[in-house]
């Protein structure tokens, strides 16, 4: 038995006010996330400017192909997510469920590739503080790069894990018929969060993987 569209919560006057509040609330949350990641972007900018050669050498240790594949995967998951929202808006239950499931799948693929990348870093002794074996004049500054690499991709992956869990919950609720064209706020705001994770990665790709790929 499917459940009806959720009632309007008591503090709101009508469904439109509730929807507007949910949307504004999520956008504001995303602004806080921009600042959260932003602290690391600031540190990266400073050191990238201070140590261009070391950062270039360090960046070459990363696998640009895997980075590119992961970018395609994540952008693909954004497509499936926006299609899921489209399904919710127009009452296309199958589209909603299939696209949420694909989003889950693609998000997991991203994490899988990330795991492969990280274990490769471990094998090559490129994990600061735990197993870092680079030597040479600029080893320290490369260690700085890798610290930021793990910090930024790690925090990003954590957000992705949370996103996958949330999408999973949304999927379960959608399966039980909680959403309709009149009420599907959770799907909309989950979509916003998911796309934000995509945007962060859009910047991480060139910053981390593509520094000075030309040249030896």
């Amino acid at each position: 038995m499917t459940e009806h569209a959720a009632a309007v919560a008591h503090q709101f006057d009508d469904a439109e006010q509730q929807r507007g509040a949910a949307e504004l609330g999520m956008w504001i949350f995303l602004a806080t996330e921009v600042m959260f990641f932003g602290g690391m972007f600031t540190a990266f900018t400073a050191y990238r400017w201070l140590y261009p050669e070391a950062f270039t050498h360090a960046s070459r240790h990363l696998d640009a192909l895997l980075g590119g594949i992961n970018t395609v995967v994540l952008i693909g998951s954004s497509l499936t997510m926006v299609l899921a929202v489209h399904g919710a808006r127009h009452g296309h239950r199958r589209m909603l469920l299939v696209c949420l499931a694909l989003t889950l799948l693609l998000g997991s693929v991203f994490l899988g590739v990330k795991a492969i990348e990280w274990s490769s870093k471990w094998e090559h002794g490129l994990v600061p503080g735990l197993h870092f074996t680079l030597t040479g004049a600029d080893a320290g500054r490369q260690e700085l790069f890798f610290f930021l690499y793990f910090a930024m991709t790690g925090v990003h992956a954590l957000h992705l894990v949370i996103g996958i869990c949330v999408v999973g919950v949304i999927f379960a609720l959608a399966w039980r018929g909680h959403y309709s064209p009149e009420y599907h706020n959770p799907v909309e705001v989950t979509g916003l969060y998911w796309h934000f994770i995509d945007i962060v990665w859009i910047f991480l790709l060139p910053m981390l993987y593509l520094i000075g790929r030309h040249g030896a």
């Binding site: 900018t45 400073a46 497509l79 945007i199 859009i202």
Partner: protein
């Protein structure tokens, strides 16, 4: 009945993939200091596409635009003023590294 937005989403997706390919390819070309600018510019275009079309910013009220742009602008303040220190530390030959 409004036209379906699905073709638009797919078109944006294709554009994003193409731009991803471009940014990877361009990184193998020696553009000197312009490399950073080009890479950032492409990333910004991709982000704007996601914001406008996937996040429906195009159809959102003005307040949403303020929030979206405000976040990035504020990050700009953090980076710019921090870099004002980092960039100018070496200018005065008095003490320091």
């Amino acid at each position: 009945m409004a036209r379906s937005a699905v073709p638009l989403y797919v078109a944006v997706f294709v554009a994003l993939i193409v731009l991803t390919g471009v940014t990877v390819a361009v990184s193998y070309v020696d553009l000197g200091p312009a490399s950073v600018v080009v890479a950032l510019a492409i990333a910004c275009v991709k982000a704007v596409l996601v914001l406008l079309f996937f996040m429906h910013l195009r159809e959102s009220p003005g307040l949403t635009w303020v929030v979206a742009l405000g976040g990035f602008f504020w990050l700009g303040i953090l980076i710019a003023l921090t870099m004002s220190d980092v960039l100018t530390r070496g200018w005065l030959p008095v003490g320091g590294p």
